[in-house]
């Protein structure tokens, strides 16, 4: 649907493994995973900069953990 720009990305072996694991788990290409991660990172970063807080809740214990990015 949109024009895209191309870049070369250098990853460590471990980072590439993580990317491959996520791509398999989410059934997406590695490129789509990185684009998704980038948009999500910007979203969280901007909301935190505006004074928001990010919590992760443990569904079992209902314990909330504050995340700092």
């Amino acid at each position: 649907m949109e024009d895209k720009k191309t870049m070369t990305l250098n990853l460590t072996g471990r980072e590439m493994e993580v990317l491959e694991e996520l791509a398999a788990k989410k059934e997406m290409s590695k490129t789509a995973i990185l684009r998704h991660a980038l948009r999500l990172y910007q979203l969280v970063d901007v909301k935190l900069a505006k004074g928001g807080k990010l919590f992760l809740e443990d569904a079992k214990n209902k314990k909330a953990e504050l995340l700092v990015l």
Partner: protein, 213 residues
Amino acid sequence: MTRFPIKLEDKHTRQGSQRGKLIEASLCLDVPASLIAETVARWKPLWDAGLERRRRLDLPPLENEHWDWLAKSSWLSLAAYRSLGVECEGVMQGLMMLVTDGYAARMQPDIGKPLVYVDYVQNAPWNNEDLVDRPRFGAVGSHLLDGAVKLSVDLEYGGRLGLHSLQRSEGFYRRLGLAPVEVERQDRHARGLWYFEFTREGAEGFLQARGSR
């Protein structure tokens, strides 16, 4: 803003049981915030008149009377926020705001996989049967949903899509094949509303039925 050609039925040209004339229109991806502001200003007089008429007739208020498109469209500076519009005769006939990241599927077999979330969707007041006796253009909402599913496919989300439906729209989403998942209890902005979802399979069926795969 990118435009894709579509056609809208002009209901005012219907004769008896015959379908109305089809008019050339565009599905617009990434409607800029400035055009959303211009559109909302253009809609406002008829929107206000329609709400006033409902009050005079003792009809209940609309569930989306409080929506603030200007505040919402300020988020379009972020890559995760996208907008869609249906344009016909040089005017937006409907608008949709989407969030492409931060939401995950709740239905098997896609639980945990990303989806496109429909945040706001609204018809122009002259197309809204709650505000006028004879709405002008039909199928604006289904064209917007079609665009959202295709965006989900483009992002490699397989067409997965989620939304919280206003009560009056639940039948519309059911007819289009979205699955009712649960009444929302977590999200404070949507508490008490039904959450609907297209799985990958549901989205494929939707696109196939519309002949737009």
